[in-house]
Amino acid sequence: MDFLRPASWEEALAAKAEHPTAVPIAGGTDIMVEINFDHRRPEYLLDLNRIELLREWEVGEESVRLGASVPYSQIMENLREELPGLALASHTVASPQIRNRGGVGGNLGTASPAGDAHPALLAAGAEVEVESVRGTRLIPIDEFYKGVKRNALEPDELIKTVHVKKADGPQQYSKVGTRNAMVIAVCAFGLALHPETRTVRTGIGSAAPTPVRATAAEEFLNAALEEGGFWDNGRIITPSIAKQFADLASGACNPIDDVRGTAKYRRHAVGIMARRTLGWTWEQYRAGNGRTLEGAA
């Protein structure tokens, strides 16, 4: 095994081009487990810890440019206003020790359907900026996940930043697990209201081969909210609309039975989380303080 320690982003890209099999290591919270347990012996480890720009973020007009290695603890602390859904999701990641090391780039690189950041990114709307010596690509988050632990990266590419849309309305995140800390999600659900476009976006974790949006549920809700004039009159969403939304979210799942839960349970729980997160966010919208994090997961 070789340990590559690029001092700059350019050096990292050059190293990845030269050794496409090199495994990037940033927080190490996934890859070190695999190495400790002898499940994986990469030929090259590509350490990204020395690259400052990966640990930086920038709040722009429309979106936040979030460095791939910005630790979850920093997202929780500094980006609650701009990225409430992702901040909530970050808070559910493992433990303080892990949140001090892990970042969104790792979730995206590993592309496990159980990664906590995915539903929040899907719901907020995001683009993943990847780069290689050949150039830069912006991959829409909806096209990033390609299969179980597979993503849209080419072998010579590295994840640089994630451009996450700034919240224009309330966002919520919910996760099912056996305790509050140190759990891999049995399933998870993210929901973002976008009052500017009068749309709702969702994200489902751990209930399909990849993180997915519940598009049918979104389309139904967008139409129902429009039709009932809910965005303007701010009325409580009727139970029948909420139920239909929940059922469609449940239907968007394609889960499996595994040690953490059964497929049936996951489908059920996603429906419940869809209904609850809709209730929470809508209450926040009605209250007019669209960006508070009260009643959080």
């Binding site: 095994m1 919270t29 070190m32 487990v33 190495i35 347990f37 350490d47 303080p96 020790q97 892990i98």
Partner: protein
């Protein structure tokens, strides 16, 4: 490969480090600092918690090569670290290598019971270590080093924690003996003593 980094305020060099090796392994097996405990090796239990550039991390999940040029504080250096922090104000300077630090020999000789393990007398302890002894928060002791490092860091950041703050700060550290109640007592005790000391000064 060779790794140079600072441990408990003193520069250290580890040689013949395997590229896939963890910081925990380097500390325990190459530098002779077995205070950080090796239990789950997957970041679940927190017994290997150390501070890396001031931040609590699971040392089993940090690749040795990633600590090149960086500062690590282990439980063996906690007493000195806490002392420096108290003398030089919030945050301390020990983690940055600005203080004298704990020599490797001193650190290796460190044990909780050279004199009296029941009271902690006769050995230099950080306030959080003394509080763990006084509150009876140590049973088998395996989880204790990780808890001490995590709790000490929380009290540095948040001198008046609520019970919820304590629970969250220690949520990455598993203890199978105490049922956690005595540990929570110990952290509350350390916080109260810290507050009283702050008032006295």
């Amino acid at each position: 490969m060779r790794v140079n980094f600072t441990v408990n305020g003193r520069p250290q060099e580890a040689d013949d480090v395997w590229e896939g090796e963890s910081l925990l392994y380097v500390l325990r097996e190459r530098l002779g600092l077995p205070g950080s405990k090796n239990a789950c090796e997957q970041g679940e239990c927190g017994s290997c918690t150390v501070r890396l550039d001031g931040v609590p991390v699971c040392s089993c999940l940090v690749a040795a090569g990633q600590v090149e040029g960086r500062e690590v504080v282990t439980v063996e250096g906690l007493a000195e670290f806490a002392k420096e922090r108290q003398e030089h104000g919030h945050g301390g300077s020990c983690g940055t290598g600005a203080c004298g630090g704990t020599s490797l020999d001193e650190a290796k000789r460190w044990e909780a019971r050279p004199q009296d393990s029941q009271t902690g007398e006769g050995v230099e302890l950080s306030p959080i270590q003394q509080a763990f002894i006084d509150a009876g928060a140590v049973q088998c002791g395996f989880c204790t080093p990780g808890l001490l490092v995590a709790a000490d860091e929380m009290l540095e950041r948040n001198p008046s924690p609520t019970d919820a703050d304590i629970r969250e700060a220690l949520s990455g550290n598993l203890c199978r003996c105490t049922g956690y109640e005595k540990i929570l007592d110990a952290v509350r005790l350390a916080a109260a003593r810290q507050e009283r000391q702050g008032e006295a000064v």
